[in-house]
Every structure is written in C-alpha cells, then in structure tokens.
C-alpha cells in the first residue's frame, strides 16, 4: 500500500455544535476533571480528591435497596412474565406515559407537600430528567432571543439547559448576602428593566425552590411577591422543585402549588412546576423528570415535545409500583429528611469550628459556604485562586460561586450527601488544616 495524500474531509458543523454555550468549560465542570483523575477512596486512595461538587443523594440508599429486595416481584418481570403486563408494557408507545406511573408520581409529590397541594396525573408530562424538563419548557415558553429571569446564584447547568439549543437568554435577578440572597421586588424589576434595555423580551421567571446552590427554601411572602410580579408583567413562572423532598423540616417548604390551590388557581395558567426523582430519591441514573403545568396548552405541547425525551416504559413500571406504596414513601421521605438534616448539622458545625460560616439553610444536598474572609482579594480572580488551592492542595472539589453567577466573591457550594460520614469527617479535617495553614501564614506575614 502506497502512501496516499488524502484531501481531508472538512464538512462544517452547526454553530450549536461548535459553540461553548453549553457552559461545560466553566470551573464547575473543570473541578470534576481533577476528581476524575484522582478520585478519593477510603481504602485505595485516601489522599485523592474528595468529590463535594456533585449534588447526589446517597444517604438513603439502604431504604431503596431493602424495598426492592422485598418487592422484587412487583418491580420486575422474570418468572411469570407471560402472565404479566410485560407485553403491553413493551409495546406501549404513548408519550403520555403510563397512567399508573403518573398517578404514583402525583401522589408522591402530594406527600412531599404534606397533602397541602393536589396534583392531577393528567397534568404531568414525563421527561428524561429535570434537565430535559427545564429545556423543554424553555422551548415552549420563549422564542430564540427572548429571556428568562433567573435569580443568582443559580445552578450552572441552567446555562446549558435553558440556553444552548433554545437560543433563549438568561437575565440574572441579582441577589446578595445582605438579606440572605432572597429575591426582592426591586431585584425582579431591576432584571426586567435590564432585559428591556437590551431590547429583549422577557417570557418568564425561573426559580429553584429550595434553591440550588443556597440550600434554602423560598419564603411564602417572597413566592407571593414573585407571583404578583409575573402576573403583572403577564409572563410565566417556572418553579423547579427538584429538592422539595429534601427539605429537613416539612413545614418549612412552601410550594407554589399550595399558594395557587389556596387562591383557587387564580393566575395559575402561567405557572409550571418541574420535578425529578434524581435528588430526593437518589436515582439520577433513572432519568426521571416531570413537568406539571396548570396551562392546558402547555401540557399538550409539552407532551408532544416529550417524544424527544421519554422514559422507557420499563422504568415507569418499576417506579410506579414503588411510588404508589404509601407506607414506603412515607417512611422514605421522613427518614431521608432526618438523615439529611443530621448531615447538614454535622458539616455546619464542622465548618463553624474552623471559623467558616454558612448561609442558614434548610434543605437540599449542599450548603452555601462563605470563604470571603480567606480571599486575598475580594474579586472573582481571588475566588478562583482560592478555589484552585482548594482543589489542588486541599483536594476537595467544591463549586465556586462565580460559576453559579454569584455577584459576591468568596461563596462556595459544598455537597455533603454523596459520601459516607467518614469521608465527610476527612473532608472537614482537611479544611481545618488548610484554614490553620492560612491563618498561620497570615500571622507570620503580619508579624514580619
């Protein structure tokens, strides 16, 4: 075979394919790389990087495992497959989703809210994860070039989910520590005006409740203010309640669904709720997300669009039986909340004893840590410098506030539910050493 000089085949790709609007080049994802290259393991790699940048819930796995062992016949096929619903299930191609599954999800969502809100199974649209749900809603509610208002700090993945393929912009609603990062009417108006000044049409507000990365629920009065704002501006409200089952104390979570029900669904047609089992049930691998909308047209359109992001009927079947077991779900929700609260208290105490304060949180799988006193310079660069040190010296992957678009430097999101208690202790120990070193260094430098 001779050497052939081939003309390289250069076929163009789309702008979407080559752009970096997916935001996956941000530090949020870069920290993961450090972890992937040197992952911590209690036994085999005790000096590796501890992953504290992944909001996964592993604290209640044992409950799921035990349930599935005890109820294997209900959740699978196998012996007796011919007498079962397997055939219908395998051939059931309907983008509405199994009714039993939607009913089970609706009931689970009601339980999480202490039965203070009702969910109709036929208003649930299923998607392969909350990521897809948020993107799908954005496609439906906004045209390319329009904007959604999102309070900062927010989940870095929104840059991809809400913007990449949709062509929709995010205009931040600036929140700061002066009032614990709560959303204010002034901030809402400010964001709206900012969009107007860019000649951009605002189509909705997207909130996460409880918030990621803050780990705190939104107060009822604030929710009412947001509802009043979106009604006045005639725009939509998307409430991503993916962590609703992870609020430590059930009475502290108010869902927008409850407020709407209490006012007999006035103005409800502009409200849409996103939920998923990835966080509360710790099943991100199952890719289960839902949209609940009070708007008939959004339900119909979302359902049709969900053909691009369906959940296999096998998975639906598996989860339907588990989620409709009310005794199990009650036990799970209660136990999960308790364990998460304990974890939270453990990390808060551990950090406090090192002089590091966190925002008062009450839900979610992470805490919002204030390391601004340790910054050399109170700037984004200062924050990234500190973050680099934490990744490479302390060997902890945590998420810098700037990747969450936080306007104040020095805040970090630290996840605590994706590891064992031992590992958490190791992490806290490492932080203690690091903080001691900085303080000693500062003292030494100061005395020279």
């Amino acid at each position: 075979m001779g050497i052939e000089i081939e003309k390289p085949c250069v076929v163009e790709l789309s702008n979407i394919a080559v752009s970096n609007t997916h935001g996956e080049d941000s530090p949020y994802f870069a920290g993961w790389k450090a972890y992937d290259e040197n992952p911590y393991d209690e036994l085999t790699n005790p000096s590796g990087v501890i992953q504290m940048g992944l909001a996964e819930n592993q604290v209640s796995f044992d409950l799921l495992e035990r349930y599935l062992e005890e109820h294997s016949e209900a959740t699978t096929w196998g012996k007796g497959v011919r007498n079962s619903s397997f055939r219908d299930n395998a051939l059931f191609q309907d983008y509405h989703g199994l009714h039993s599954f939607r009913a089970a999800m609706a009931s689970f969502m009601e339980q999480i809210r202490g039965e203070r809100a009702k969910f109709e199974p036929d208003r649930l649209v299923i998607t392969a994860g909350a990521t897809a749900a948020n993107e799908l809603l954005t496609f439906i509610l906004a045209n390319p070039g329009d904007a959604l208002l999102v309070p900062t700090p927010y989940y870095p993945g929104f840059d991809r989910d809400l913007r990449w393929r949709t062509g929709v912009k995010i205009v931040p609603i600036h929140c700061d520590s002066s009032n614990n990062f709560q959303i204010t009417p002034e901030a809402l108006e400010g964001a709206y005006k900012e969009a107007e000044s860019m000649n951009t049409k605002v189509r909705g507000v997207l909130i996460t409740n409880p918030s990621n990365p803050l780990g705190a629920t939104i107060e009822r009065s604030v929710l009412e203010q947001i509802l009043e704002f979106v009604t006045r501006k005639n725009i939509h409200l998307v409430s991503d309640e993916i962590y609703s089952g992870s609020v430590f104390s059930p009475s502290e979570f108010v869902s927008v669904a409850e407020i709407l029900e209490a006012r007999n669904y006035k103005d409800a047609e502009r409200v849409h709720i996103v939920y998923s089992l990835s966080k509360d049930l710790g099943l991100p691998g199952f890719r289960v997300g839902t949209i609940y909308s009070y708007n008939d047209k959004v339900v119909t359109t979302a359902r049709r669009m969900s053909s691009f992001t369906l959940i296999s009927s096998q998975t639906q079947h598996l989860l339907a039986s588990m989620l409709s077991d009310k005794d199990f779900t009650e036990l799970y929700i209660r136990t999960n909340r308790e364990r998460l609260r304990k974890r939270y208290e453990m990390i808060i105490e551990g950090l406090r004893s090192n002089g590091i304060e966190c925002l008062k949180g009450n839900g979610g799988l992470f805490c919002w840590m204030n390391m601004s006193p340790l910054l050399e310079k109170a700037t984004k660069e200062g924050e990234l410098k500190l973050w680099n040190a934490i990744i490479h010296q302390v060997k902890l992957n945590i998420s810098p506030g700037s990747s969450c678009h936080c306007s104040e430097p020095g805040w970090f999101r630290v996840c605590f539910a994706n590891m064992s208690e031992n590992t958490l202790q190791v992490a806290l120990e490492r932080i203690r050493n690091f903080v001691d070193k900085i303080r000693t260094h500062t003292l030494t430098a100061g005395s020279n």
């Binding site: 085949c9 076929v11 790709l13 789309s14 394919a17 080559v18 996956e24 996964e56 592993q58 799921l64 495992e65 599935l68 062992e69 294997s72 196998g78 012996k79 497959v81 397997f86 055939r87 219908d88 395998a90 051939l91 191609q93 509405h96 009714h99 009702k118 109709e120 208003r123 994860g129 990521t131 496609f139 439906i140 509610l141 906004a142 045209n143 390319p144 329009d146 991809r160 393929r165 949709t166 189509r203 939509h236 047609e269 691998g285 890719r287 289960v288 009070y294 008939d296 047209k297 339900v299 119909t300 359109t301 049709r304 669009m305 691009f308 992001t309 369906l310 096998q314 998975t315 598996l318």
Partner: protein
C-alpha cells in the same frame, strides 16, 4: 393482538379557547366593526354592536368555564377529537402579544404567551387525530371488536414472544438485585450518575448486535456511539449538530412523518423534499436530488445534508449499493452531510440484500467524516417503548457535541442494563434476527396478497414495518383533499387508523401506510373486511 382498551391513555387535544381567547379577541375586534361599516349606517350600528356583544358574552362564558378547569385537567377524549379550522388557527393567535386586549377583557386573567415553536406543535394533524381516536376506542378481539385498529405507528410486535421467552429464562430475580442475572452491580451501581451517552458495556453489546444485523460485514467501534432515548431525539440531535436555524436537509419523499418533528420543530431547520415516484417504486433518483439541491440554492436555502432512511419508511425499499455510492459522490461534491437512518436494518425480509452505509465506508473511508448513521435498538428487538437508539459517527466533533446533547434524552440505567444483557446474548440475538426476518416476510406477503384481492396494490418492499398501499381507486377525487377524505372514512367508518401519504409528503395522492407488524394473522381478515366496507361504499 392489539392494545387492550383498559389501558387507554388520556389524550388531550388542546381545548379550543381556554388560554387563547384573548389573542383571538384582537383579530375579532378588527373584523367585527368592519362588518358594520360595509352594511351602511343602520347596519353600522347593528352590524358592529350586536356581534361584538355576542362575542364578548361568549368570551365571558369561556373564561368562566376556564377557571373551573384547573381541577379537571385536559383529558376529555370526547371533546375536540377532530381538528376544526378555528382549533387550528388558535396556536397562531396565541402567539399574538397580549397588550392590546387586556383592557377589553371582562376577565382579569390574560392568557400567557407561548412560543412560535409551541404553536407549530400544538397544531393538529392526522397523526394526532388518529392517535386520539385509536386510544379512545382501541380494537380488541374480544372486548371491543368494533374498535379502531391502529396501524399508523411503526411498531413491531411480531417477535415479542421471543423476548418474553428470553426474559422468563434470564430474569430470575429483581432487575436491581445484587449478584443478579445482569451484571451483578446492584442498585448502587446503576442509580448513580452515568455517562449520558450510554455505558460502555451497552455500547459493546450494541456493536456486536449491529454487526450481526449486517451479517458481520462491518466492525463497529463502541467509542463512536451515542445512545439516545429513541429515533426522534437521535435525528433531532444530529439536526442540531449539522445545521443552523434556517438551513435545510434534503429528504426523499415519502418520508416518515416524525421527521417533520425531529428534524424541524425545535431546530428551525427546513426539509426540502426530493420526490420519488411510484413508477420507480419510489426509489431515490440522483437527478431529482440534484434538482432539489439547485432549487433550494436558488431560493437562498443553505443545504447542510441529506437524510435517507434505508430500509425506507414508509415504502420499505432498500437503497442499492450503486445508489449509496452515487449519494456519497453527491454529498462529497456539494460538501454536505449524510444522515443514514437505518433503524430497520435488522428487519429486512425480501430477496434483495441490505447494504449499510457503514459497509460503503469500509471502502470509501475518506468520506467517513460526513456520514452519520442511526440504528434502532428497541424497535428492532420488539420492545419499542423501551426507547433506545444509536447515533454512530466517525466525526469526532459531531460525537463530542452529540454526547453533550444526549444528556437531554438519555436512557435510564435499568433499561440500559436490560438491553445490555439481551444484546450480549449472541445466540439469542442471532436466532431472533433470523426468526424476525422470516415472520416479517410471511406477514408482509400475507397482508399484501389480501390487499391485492381487494384490488389494492402495494409498492414492493424488502424491509421495515409498513406496506405502502395504493388506495387511489377508493378516493372520491384524485387530490390531497380526496386522500384526506378517504383517510377520514377509513378512520371513522372502517375504523382503521392508517398513515395518509400527505403526512409523509408523498407527491402522488392516494398512498397509505399500513404497519403490518402490529397485526397477528387473525387480524388480517378483520382489516380486509373493514376495507371492503369502504370499497363497497365507493362503488
């Protein structure tokens, strides 16, 4: 056996004016006063005030009903089952900005905006209308013998018994059992975060299945795969990667109705049809391709690629080796992509041999970067609702982008595990492919023969799930209107839901797609008898 009635889903056609009456009001407000002007002075008053008053009263009535709807979600299968003109107009109106009509509404709740993309989705089509009818009233041999026989969806249940057998033998424990019959991972292994484009074990299993499907003529590299939850996301992802908003793909017609959604809806990409004709058995003609390309260019449309389906859907013919080579030449000359949708590669049954684009590329390897293949998994192995599909490409940049996009349509871990297990069972898969082919051939031949007895000829097919039948003799007029009228009679009188050629953009009216893989042998006489009702009524 067709679907049982008791698991009918609750379809919800958009209620005609619940969230859009304000938008409709704006248009009405212009029309109504104009009527009065044309009717003269007295007429001016009567012609404008009375219709206005009636209209506002109607709006008030609708708004009052709307408020009570939030506790009764959009599930009424008995209303709005056929598309009506106003119904179809509403999505456009709903996009109209709200500011004008606020002051005129008697209700304080203006409807919220929906995007242009939502509007195009909300519009009804024969596909949805047929789906609703079939869902409301599904045929069942015993429970509902007069129900609608649904033959408009491309599913294959011909070999589902083989899959049942396999599961009976291989799934002795829970799907998630530790040390169970799968990979012994247990729940902790499969519930955590996974690569969104599919786990490597599944990809390796898929590579081996794909090789089997093309009689081992090609080696498939698992690292060049992105696994997605179905054909629609696969085509959509490729569309997003290869074309920008406003660009176009050339697509031979008739094509699958789902391309309109997958290639166009959210991407904003256009489809330029390349008509194929019955005289050629609807085979692709390169001259026609060239003509379509040039015409698109004249219109200022930038063509980024060609989408072919091989075996084709809905006709079921195969692209020859020669045609595939010519296609590649064409794509090279124009420097565009080829998406080769080969989801029915495992379902060929005729005498002609199937040639995959992958085989062509084994030889013509300098064009590898421009060809992207889509393979079906769940469809080929009779578990279509498990939703699994593969994008296969040698183009690193396309793979990188597709991998990120796969996050938005990935398959759940339990389903991946099940598919891995099944696909890795080489003996089962080999056996399955052979039996599937034999049964497909038998069913297709039987159905086509019975249609022929009724005077209905079908295009020659060598693969896929459809018979493409010429029903033009039963139309009242040889036109698109005549075809849709026949489709309506088929649905509402014969109670058979089939795909009309217009949904597939067929240039010749009167062709219909019947998904024969949804039939069992017992169903064929039932379908034939029902078709006879129509053919007798037409005489």
């Amino acid at each position: 056996m067709t679907r049982k009635e008791n698991k009918k889903p609750q379809p919800s056609p958009p209620s005609s004016s619940s969230s859009t009456s304000g938008g409709g009001g704006t248009a009405m407000r212009v029309i109504v006063p104009l009527q009065g002007v044309f009717q003269g002075r007295g007429g001016l008053f009567l012609g404008s005030v009375i219709p206005c008053a009636l209209y506002y009263l109607f709006q008030l009535y609708v708004k009052t009903r709307t408020r009570h709807r939030f506790n009764s979600p959009p599930t009424s299968p008995h209303s709005n089952s056929t598309p009506s003109p106003s119904h179809n107009n509403l999505p456009e109106l709903s996009v109209h900005p709200r500011s004008l009509s606020r002051t005129h509404l008697s209700s304080p709740t203006p409807s919220a905006f929906l995007s242009g993309r939502a509007a195009s989705l909300a519009a009804d089509s024969p596909y949805y209308a047929g789906l609703y009818k079939a869902a409301e009233n599904s045929y069942h041999e015993v429970d509902n013998p007069e129900g609608v026989i649904h033959l408009a969806v491309g599913d294959n249940k011909i070999c589902v018994d083989l899959v049942e057998d396999w599961m009976e033998k291989n799934l002795s424990g829970a799907v998630l059992e530790e040390g169970g019959d799968f990979t012994g991972i247990g729940i902790t292994g499969i519930s955590g975060c996974q690569p969104f484009d599919g786990v490597m074990k599944l990809k390796v299993a898929v590579a081996s299945f794909m090789s089997q499907a093309v009689d081992n003529s090609v080696f498939f590299n698992p690292s060049q795969m992105v696994i997605t939850s179905g054909v629609d996301p696969a085509i959509e992802i490729l569309s997003f990667c290869l074309a920008d908003y406003g660009n176009a793909f050339l697509v031979p017609t008739p094509h699958s109705p789902s391309f309109d959604g997958a290639a166009k809806w959210r991407t904003g990409v256009e489809i330029v049809p390349v008509p194929c004709r019955s005289a050629d058995n609807f085979n692709l003609n390169i001259a026609a391709l060239d003509q379509a390309f040039n015409q698109a260019k004249k219109r200022g449309q930038k063509v980024r690629g060609i989408i072919i389906t091989n075996p084709s859907n809905p006709v079921g013919n195969l692209l020859s080796h020669e045609t595939l080579l010519s296609l590649l030449d064409f794509a090279r000359e124009k420097n565009i992509h080829i998406i080769s949708n080969e989801i029915y590669a495992g379902s060929t049954y005729g005498n002609e041999e199937f040639v995959s684009m992958a085989e062509i590329l084994e030889v013509e390897d300098h064009d590898r970067e421009r060809v992207h293949i889509v393979y079906g998994l769940s469809d080929d192995i009779s578990v279509p609702s498990y939703k699994a599909c593969v994008i296969y490409s040698c183009n690193k940049n396309v793979l990188a982008a597709a991998k990120k996009l796969a996050r938005l349509s990935s398959i759940s871990a339990p389903t991946q595990q099940l598919l891995t297990s099944m696909l890795s069972d080489a003996r089962f898969m080999q056996n399955f492919i052979e039996i599937n082919r034999l049964r497909l051939q038998k069913m297709c031949q039987a159905f086509v023969a019975r249609l022929k007895q009724l005077g209905i000829e079908c295009a020659r097919s060598d693969g896929g799930f459809h018979c493409w039948a010429d029903m033009s003799a039963l139309m009242r007029s040889y036109s698109e209107k005549g075809e849709l009228e026949l489709w309506d009679r088929l649905l509402n009188v014969a109670k058979i839901n089939v795909t009309p050629g217009t949904s597939c953009h067929c240039i010749e009216p009167g062709w219909f797609g019947f998904c024969f893989t949804l039939l069992s042998e017992k169903d064929i006489p039932v379908v034939v008898e029902r078709l006879q009702r129509i053919s007798e009524a037409t005489k």
